[in-house]
């Protein structure tokens, strides 16, 4: 009797994950296996492969100073984008949850945050160009008011511009999960802390922050994996002045060097997975989500 129920439950479980499996296996697992397999063969230089087994592609990836420079450049962007989107995202969520008294208004403001994200990423990125350029709005205003004599070059086609575009694109990915976990915090906990004489800073540090760790972790996963896997924002906003891990192997594909590109892609997949694992180690997502 008891075992029958378990079997039925197990069957229901399999049935529930079946749609996901049907999508993930052909569209994710199989292509990934293809990429990994391609990383161990040799290129004939004309877009074909020589069936063989070689570690040469990995050897060239690991022994090239370029790989390390690319990862360094990409990590820098990741850290800056993560830090600023977290700072902005956290405080926006905090304001919405704890300072806006009316829950309906809070929800309305929250939805307002998503409005800019109804337009495409690309549009939101290139719309910075007329603002930040040499003859852009900011420079014209600063030169016009004689704050500076020469337009600032550093605003556009620079690392600063790349970070600005990332933060603008990705902050929403921080706001949503952090807002979600903050909204679950029992307001009475905060009141109790205040009654017990805790300062506002202590409340954030000792109650809010620990209780929305899950939201921060989820937001961080989004931001880190998107920045690590991006090449377009870097290409456009740095004016081609900076490179990225993905941008480099995209160029390899352009000259049909599939095996080296596959090796770089495999390496990146492993590194991003490790980063995600590291982030997940800081929280028990499953426990938090079922709380």
């Amino acid at each position: 009797m008891h075992s029958k129920v378990t079997t039925r439950r197990r069957q229901a479980g399999w049935l529930l994950i079946l749609p996901l499996v049907l999508i993930l296996v052909p569209f994710f697992i199989v292509p990934i296996i293809g990429v990994v397999a391609a990383s161990f063969v040799q290129s004939d230089g004309f877009g074909g492969i020589i069936p063989s087994f070689t570690f040469d592609n990995y050897r060239s990836v690991f022994t090239s100073a370029l790989t390390y420079q690319l990862y360094w450049a990409t990590f820098k962007f990741t850290v800056f984008a993560w830090f600023f989107s977290l700072m902005i995202g956290f405080w926006i969520a905090y304001f919405l949850v704890f300072h806006v008294r009316n829950p309906l208004l809070a929800l309305g403001l929250f939805l307002l945050c998503t409005v800019p994200f109804w337009t495409s990423n690309i549009i939101r990125m290139i719309s910075w160009i007329p603002l930040l350029g040499k003859e852009g709005l900011i420079n014209s205003a600063l030169v016009g008011t004689h704050v500076i004599g020469q337009p600032l070059d550093v605003l556009l086609f620079s690392s600063l511009a790349v970070v600005i575009a990332y933060v603008h694109q990705l902050t929403i990915f921080m706001i949503v999960p952090i807002f979600n976990s903050m909204a679950r915090i029992d307001k009475r906990t905060i009141e109790a802390a205040r009654d017990a004489g805790a300062s506002r800073f202590d409340i954030v540090r000792l109650i809010v922050l620990p209780l929305c760790k899950t939201g921060i972790a989820l937001g961080s996963i989004f931001v880190v994996s998107i920045v690590m896997g991006d090449f377009f924002v870097v290409k456009v906003m740095s004016g081609g002045g900076s490179a990225s891990v993905v941008g480099a192997f995209y160029e390899d594909i352009g000259v049909l060097q599939y095996p080296t590109a596959a090796a770089s892609a495999t390496l990146l997949t492993i590194i991003v997975s490790l980063l995600v694992v590291a982030i997940l180690r800081t929280v028990d997502i499953r426990k938090e989500l079922t709380r």
């Binding site: 290129s43 230089g45 004309f46 877009g47 074909g48 090239s64 370029l66 420079q69 690319l70 450049a73 160009i129 007329p130 350029g133 040499k134 003859e135 852009g136 070059d153 556009l156 086609f157 290409k235 456009v236 004016g239 081609g240 002045g241 900076s242 490179a243 941008g247 480099a248 995209y250 160029e251 390899d252 594909i253 352009g254 000259v255 049909l256 060097q257 080296t260």
Partner: protein, 443 residues
Amino acid sequence: MGRDTEKLGKGGAAKQHLPTRRQVLKGAAAVAGAAAGSNVIGAPVIWAQEIKDIELRHVGVSYSVVKAIGDQAAKDLGFKVTMQNVDTSAAINRFITQPNTVDIPDLEGWQAKLAAKRGVIQGINVKKIKEFDNFLPIFTKGELDGQLIPRQGISPYEAMYIDKPDATDLHEGVTEWATFLPQVYNADSIGYRPDLVDHPVTEWKDLLDPKYKGKAAILDVPAIGIMDAALCFESAGLIKYGNKGNMTKQEIDFTIEKLIELKKSGHFRATWTTFDQSVQLMAAGEVVIQSMWSPAVAAVRVKQIPCVYAPVNKKGDKEGYRGWCNGLGLMKHLNGKKLDAAYEYINWYYTGWQGAFVSRYGYYSPVPSTAKTFMTPTEWAFWYEGKPAPEEIKDPYGVPMEKVGTVRDGGSFLDRVKNISCWNTLMDEAAYMNKRWNDFKVA
């Protein structure tokens, strides 16, 4: 569609009720006053019935695979033509990895070489191309006015012939089978702001002049960006290349080290990848001199911002334009009626409508004699003869481009094309070059 095109399209477009090529050509001939109809084989009526359901997918870069041209071809030929745009690297990847999703690949010479090598295209029988004998000899024989066309990089002539329809290696010398047939080409050089650069630019080395520090840009498509850089360094007397279009590792290293040096000194404001980016950089005052394409210069001028396309005529072994050429191929899977339709389509390209259309962009047709019949004398004088425009010049969509009296930068067709010194390419050391180019990017 603009007024200009409508007027010119009268021969072709206006006769919608009789969409066979014979009629189109008759119309064109009538407009031009030339007897072009006599050597054209008419399409039987039954053929028109059978081809209705055929669809040809023409895939390639946006400046070469143009929707307006496909629409006109479909109208004239009576079957469906779908134009699909991808960037250069996505194009060659698609031809090679998904050959069955393409019917007409739009190929550059080096792509034709790769596609033949991979066996994804079939040879085009040049005997079936009615205008083949009217092609400029730049392509068919590798010469122009008895002068040999330079072979640095992969010239269209070099990539054009194979000895049998399924050959995978190129053949040196004229044969009956072509890997691809040129449809549009041009000579690239430098664009600059005449109001901000104090002298007329005629040499590539001006792009390196420290005066334009922080105001210069270069093309960021590794395979051709490195050739623009090479033209600059050769012009400045820093190096002499054996073949700019196929550098040795040492030559690549030298070129990249120089580029890194320039980048570290803050010489480049940016690098650009797309047509629009180059227009934006120039129009927004970010740069005053950069490697550029001819229609991009025109697009800046349309915004009422002065911009000149530098005539970089050859001086001994130095200078010269970087030539490029896109052409039509036939994918291997085409057969039967679809293959016949593909031949019809290719033949249509050389009947003049398309040649006139691309000429209004500042590009050229490989068969100028038919393009001329679809152009006004004003357009012909301006775009091909390098004469002052007798009337206002308009772009293919009818937007005014150049005032009366303007002379095309670089002069006549012959002046420009004869000064091509190298062609777009994919080097033997492409993998190494790419890696070094990324060193430049990340530096």
